[in-house]
Symmetry: C2
Subunit: 431 residues, 2 copies
Amino acid sequence: MKVGICGFGTVGSGTLKVLARNQKDIAARAGGPIVVTRIASRTPPADDVDLNGASFSVDVQSVIQAPDVDVVVETIGGTTIAREVILGAIAAGKHVVTANKALIAEHGAEIFEAAEQAGVTVAYEAAVAGGIPVIKAMREGLVANRIEWLAGIINGTGNFILTEMGEKNRDFEDVLKEAQALGYAEADPTFDVEGIDAAHKLTILASTAFGVPLQFSGAYTEGISQITVQDMAYAQELGYQIKHLGIARRLDNGFELRVHPTLVPESHLIASVNGVMNAVLVNGDAVGQTLYYGAGAGSEATASAVIADLVDIARTARQDARSGVPHLGFASEHLSEEPVVPIEDIQSAYYLRMLAEDRPGVLARVATLLSEHGINIESIMQKESELADGRIPLIMLTHTVREADLNHAVAAIEKLPEICGHVFRIRVEHF
Amino acid sequence: MKVGICGFGTVGSGTLKVLARNQKDIAARAGGPIVVTRIASRTPPADDVDLNGASFSVDVQSVIQAPDVDVVVETIGGTTIAREVILGAIAAGKHVVTANKALIAEHGAEIFEAAEQAGVTVAYEAAVAGGIPVIKAMREGLVANRIEWLAGIINGTGNFILTEMGEKNRDFEDVLKEAQALGYAEADPTFDVEGIDAAHKLTILASTAFGVPLQFSGAYTEGISQITVQDMAYAQELGYQIKHLGIARRLDNGFELRVHPTLVPESHLIASVNGVMNAVLVNGDAVGQTLYYGAGAGSEATASAVIADLVDIARTARQDARSGVPHLGFASEHLSEEPVVPIEDIQSAYYLRMLAEDRPGVLARVATLLSEHGINIESIMQKESELADGRIPLIMLTHTVREADLNHAVAAIEKLPEICGHVFRIRVEHF
């Protein structure tokens, strides 16, 4: 099988390298050699880069139109040129393998439809959680199950920052600077720390889980930049860790699709997923909870997923692409039309942190307001004042409540004269 | 696609139940309905069992020879009748799905060869780690990688016992009785607690990892019945948990295949896999460490894997079976002939526990003997005597050493007059 690579950055070059290094084993597994014949990229590679016999061009057309390319690997990134390259490759009758989560989450419907009409495959294992074969688990390994919900640590940068904050008592800004220096975070970290990257991946996971069209625009995102080291410490005192999770869950009237900081019980395996590592927890009605853990990014880890897709295509090459695994795991005519549920309608427990005047009766007034909104309190911590002005932090865990009710209660609490500023909240999940 | 089930116990009945409950979603994923037409079992089902339209017989031939059966699901267990059923089904041109780890580990070569000659598929996801799609990860998801090693908690009974011992300070025998009462352990628990069941699964994992023939007879097994609550406590004091692991690792001269109690650092994710849950940790040269976690047994969890195999077969039904995924992930003509390395040749660190007379110089003499055999000590604990006779436990962690050298050192230590009885050892792995 002959492969053309478009985009020759971290993932593209990793793919070439791993294909070359393990070519013998890969051929034994795929039923024949997989060879990179052509590479295209905006910037030519340095002179000392071994292209392993592939030709190089700055023109992507020379790859996607080439007769000696059966499969196009797209590792350009972004949603403009990458989209044109993929649609062009499909039109030219090539199979496509991509690591592009933004493109699949935002334009997957268009791309899959084009692929199905052309009778080619678009594979995207590398788009979610790097080298962890979680798309394969969703589309194939767990097909017996009605997937009830899934939750993932699917942004390594964010998990690195939260882990450092929790273990070493360091501020968000401080760790972010280190993450940037280490190359884990971009100069503009918005995509990672505000949850947009995670929402792209979650959108894809949810569609493969529930058999619904890709609906990135419906995803709720909340970042980690407001989390303090105090929150990490309080959470640990309560028996929790704070993780930035993407959560998708079936409801009677649709499904949840949300990315936000979350308290998870420290006894749960997912609370021990630290540093840049990713993990996806999937709950199926037959299998129960399963978890998939590994590196969510990196040159060779992502290449591992790209090559797995190439081998899948090679193994089924003699077959009509339409008879294999459907793009989202469900046949496209069977995708359901369930809507994403607005964040106000989700049910969750909450961690609340507020600053109060150190006067008698404050706690009682807050508790009464919560109770009037139908919210039960699981635990309360009143901390010693750490500030010169004598204001004290109040920390509470609520029982499960509808988010809209919590919002009303919080608005009422914020109007109390003894409460200073905003009530800070983090959702809590017990898996 | 029409399915016949042979053996209607826990797994067979779970398969029927999940196929019926989720039939709509499964059809949408498989590209068409999957229907159980026939069931055979030694004992007829109770009158109130809904067979969902399938016919029942006590004669397996009525299933494997039936024209209205495309795939035979074998959930009989054991290596005698099950082997005949599978070979008979293959001879009759049926695809086969099995949950039978013993059969695949011991007779897989014969079965796969028959299948390849007949042009049918034998799928066995359910044979390893229940509902966790780890065989799929090995055969498909990680194909880009040269797998360096893998380590698994692949026997839920053993993990339940060790977890209870470690968390609740309970003796092995005590927890074993509870496990038997709960139905986690058989009346004769040998297969589980002595590591034979884990060795079956490890044998299968190793072949899919390394592309070697199934070599169950070469596996080294050591059980958990000798582990004491003191060992659990000492290990925790040293920063470790004791887990019963199956480990397979490539070496220059072959590969390791061993099941034994193992100290693992408590900071590693696999140390947090508790109770009856299973997990497999796989290290590939491109992807690094990945981990797959979930229920390793149970009716519906195992059915989840059986049905995943059925859907794979349905999705590729229009295709020549030989062009799909090879049985062990590598094309059979490319399986390598590397041998299993004898346990004496493995390299490992060791936890050593011995009972010594409380006299000056004992520690020094033991340390000297270890040093003379080229063994370096990482840490030593000398515990207070807990026994009336004044003998004291000595606990040590060694650095990595060849097992044969450790054996010689241990033999020499056991000859010291101050050392009472045998030196107890547990291997240590830093993943």
